[in-house]
Amino acid sequence: MAEKKELDRRLGIKGWALGGRWGFERYLYTLHRITGLGLVTYFLLHILVTSTRAFGGRAIWDPLMGTLGSGFFKAGEFLVFAGFAIHGLNGIRLILIELGIATGKAIEPEYPYPTSVGNQRPLAITVSILAAVLIVLGAYNIFIAH
């Protein structure tokens, strides 16, 4: 018999975002990863930047914050704040789901089958609204009040 020749059709990284017709929760999944990676990247740099004040004192801090207070960096800070709002609130939702609290128990499935996705949907919506409110407050604070 001929050797089995097969085609690998794993979707790869694009499958994290583009593998089908995604529901709302699937976008939250993608957003959670993107915001998470964004936050760590910022955080690692942030440790280095903010530590300078302990070693260089005010002489280094003032000019540094002067530069970082400009428009471009402000926009960056806003993105970090938005990332925090989304990642933190969605993280709480994920904990409630992964501990089986927000998914519901087994049911007798009857067509059209309801799923746990529907059970946690109110939570997903609440979390998204809260994140949006926080983001608006942050935008006001960062761009307008200062």
């Binding site: 089908g20 994920l94 998914t103 007798e108 799923t115």
Partner: protein
């Protein structure tokens, strides 16, 4: 449009023959669609009217055997369980389930799923194996105990969930929604005593916690198994066990 009128709908079909093709390609066929026709009916029409070499897998034609899972307009579904006009009145695209290798045309190789399904020991595990030789006892279950796992036992191993899962898309070692949901199907069974045996299998890298509730598996499951739910309930048991709060099951054994 009355029920008997026909409508021409183009079917764009993924074609791949490992013997002759270096890469897959798509071909478009016109299918005369009547209300009530399933995607499976459409494929039969292509095979009889256009190209007899088109291959796919099917058996029961009624959503029971789990053979005909495929990607229909971007979504993993059973061809026999899906009416063409419910998907689209304009165009249909059919491809084999992603995340599985392709044997030919629309035939995915589901072996990786079956291997992992077996790996989680999908049977009732009893501590005392000699019980099965003694026929003087039975394991009775209350309706509530039955309901705790019944939903998850409806899985027909079609692989639709595996095709939809984002972790499956990149992690070649991931156990996947079908096997993981079945692990919980047995965990939730009052007769099963296999938690300790399955624990190291679920706990390994690319195991249970590589699921991040993308939840797409539950959305596509054609049998209402809700694998994402089963997986989260399994996680709950693993975490409770970690912090010493998991409740042990009673033996479930009744003397006849």
């Amino acid at each position: 449009m009355s029920d008997t009128s026909f409508r021409n709908i183009p079917f764009t079909v993924f074609r791949y023959n490992p013997q002759t093709d270096a890469t897959p390609h798509v071909e478009t066929y016109t299918v005369k669609v009547q209300s009530g026709m399933t995607v499976l009916d459409g494929l039969h029409q292509i095979k009889s009217d256009h190209d007899a070499s088109l291959s796919w897998r099917y058996s029961c034609r009624m959503g029971v055997c789990g053979s005909c899972g495929m990607l229909i307009n971007g979504r993993a579904m059973l061809a026999c369980n899906t009416q063409i006009l419910d998907v689209s009145t304009i165009a249909i695209a059919v491809a084999p389930l992603p995340n599985f290798p392709v044997i030919r045309d629309l035939v995915p190789d589901l072996e990786s799923m079956f291997v992992r399904h077996k790996e989680i020991k999908p049977w009732i595990i009893r501590k005392d194996e000699s019980e099965s030789d003694r026929l003087d006892r039975e394991y009775s279950q209350s309706p509530e105990q039955l309901e705790a796992y019944l939903q998850f036992s409806y899985c027909i191993k079609c692989g639709c969930c595996m095709a939809a899962c984002p972790t499956m898309a990149t992690d070649a070692e991931y156990l996947g929604p079908q096997p993981l949901a079945q692990a919980y199907r047995y965990e939730a069974d009052s007769r099963d005593q296999g938690f300790e045996e399955r624990k190291p299998i679920l706990d390994k890298d690319s195991g249970l916690f590589s699921c991040h509730y993308g939840s797409e598996c539950s959305v596509v499951c054609p049998k209402g198994v809700d694998p994402a739910k089963a997986i989260q309930l399994m996680k709950r048991q693993m975490v409770l066990d970690l912090i010493g709060l998991r409740r042990k099951k009673c033996s479930g054994l009744h003397h006849g």
